[in-house]
Symmetry: C2
Subunit: 347 residues, 2 copies
Amino acid sequence: MRATLLYGAGDVRVEDVPDSVIKLPTDALVRITASCVCGSDLWPYASAKPEDGPARMGHEFIGIVEDTGTEVTTVKRGDLVVAPFAISDNTCAFCREGLHTSCAHAQANFWDGEAEEGGQAEAVRVPLADGTLVKLPVAADSALIPSLLTLSDVFGTGYHAAVAGGVSERTRVTVIGDGAVGLLGVLSAKRLGAEQIILMGRHQARTDLGREFGATDVVSARGEEGIARARELTGGEGTHVVLECVGNMPAYEQAVGIVRPGGVISRVGVPQYEEAPIGFGSLFRHNIRLAGGPAPVRAYIEELLPDILSGAIEPGKVFDVTTGLDGVPAGYQDMADRKSLKVLINP
Amino acid sequence: MRATLLYGAGDVRVEDVPDSVIKLPTDALVRITASCVCGSDLWPYASAKPEDGPARMGHEFIGIVEDTGTEVTTVKRGDLVVAPFAISDNTCAFCREGLHTSCAHAQANFWDGEAEEGGQAEAVRVPLADGTLVKLPVAADSALIPSLLTLSDVFGTGYHAAVAGGVSERTRVTVIGDGAVGLLGVLSAKRLGAEQIILMGRHQARTDLGREFGATDVVSARGEEGIARARELTGGEGTHVVLECVGNMPAYEQAVGIVRPGGVISRVGVPQYEEAPIGFGSLFRHNIRLAGGPAPVRAYIEELLPDILSGAIEPGKVFDVTTGLDGVPAGYQDMADRKSLKVLINP
């Protein structure tokens, strides 16, 4: 079968690899029908060293169950399923609390941590299939597939940012980042009733989609100027919640500059730093809170699914390019160059 | 009148200073009857440079109103009052939300920011008297004074740690620090119903008081060993909430090591660092949240007062030494040497 491998920075290849097969009684084998490239894939694409590769890529997919291990009970051959970017048992104490990304099961993992499996491929072995996979009540060629695919990561991640930040009707929100996660952070803040949603981004096609998703204001300036502009839009106070959907230090510093006293910075962009300012001069003085982390998207699927099925929301609009597996290397480069927002793959 | 001044590290003096007087129509003049030394006073006591001094000290006090400005309406001459460590108007948007330490009024300030006033003195000018002062329904010689004095800072600060950390009947809590704030963090966690309260401290007299306040376990080990021991007490998971009541980097690192996935580190010890680990390897990976800051103790006084008046709780037990103003310099040194837990001053 064919799969996507990252050999090093800027070096993505689609190659023949050994077929994925069932290994454990809790596994399922899934023939992938839709997958995509994630903004977080761009971090290793920018910095991976040849000695770390080749690494199998892709952690967002929809597919058809082809085979199941003897212990799998909730999905069966022929089912169309979506897989969150984290493998989990959905039964441990953390999963029951909705924190599937901290699942205590020994096989729980991020897809990116599975050395021989990946979602940008023709097929994949899914560990803990009962916990991980969610059956979808549509056909593999449904027009809803792009939106349903966002349940595997990008929509759930934007939604997690908003939920972890405590967005409600009584909150004003800033969203930092006009990537797909940021835009779906906007959609999520809108869904949770935020009274103001300031989107910070400078790419017009994206911020236009942000407005369509519910942004009330767009700030294209960055750094100190961007902070000043966002504060201006809130009478100088800053916003109750800042969704930090990028993950680098300038984005964090911007969040610190914009958040209101007593407010929350909710991070879902994977931090590209370990140390950052959190002392008296940044977070402590005004009781600024910090929240977020890898989104337990599994926890949100049941909640978000009905509005996608009804057409009330269309998170799939973040996909602006569709390609086959052959087009994946170019898809990475186009996303890195910000020519594409998010690339959908039909293997 | 006499007041306490910090001239530099290790150099506290009690000297004659100009009498405090009413300056603005919103001021009150208060004759101080009880005051104390704060754990946070020990940071400048350890590190202040002579060129920064002399600085007036003290931000916790009870006293009798001696005079009021023409606009003051809620307190009058002869009233016994307690003052939070932050001056606030109690009417702005932030005060109404219970975040008095971020009061938007131009005169809002920490006492430590008032160059010519301080609580370790015979008298003090209180700005924004209507917002700041709370009348106490007892006499100045009441046996309840030590406990009532803790409403000015140390109890409200421990309580803020617990509230900001979301302590409830469904949470296990670790308290880092056996100083007065930590011990009252224990009392606060108990009050909020925590199912387990692990106190980390190595000073037996203090941890004994911690047990009296509600600690279910005491861990005297620090660093990696302390982390391992606290985790052991929680079946390896860590606690839902960690109250970080010290403020230095080892305490923060200990908190990161002990907090449960999805849990909260609530800081009230003034951070003696600006940068700290908050990336994938510390907070992000398991959705650890960060909360806390300077406690809006004004917001908690009405809530905590009845249980002190009824004798249900005795936070004043944290005072183990009482002195006059003359004894203040020795009181600082004894607290710095950890010979005294907290020094009460009768000016």
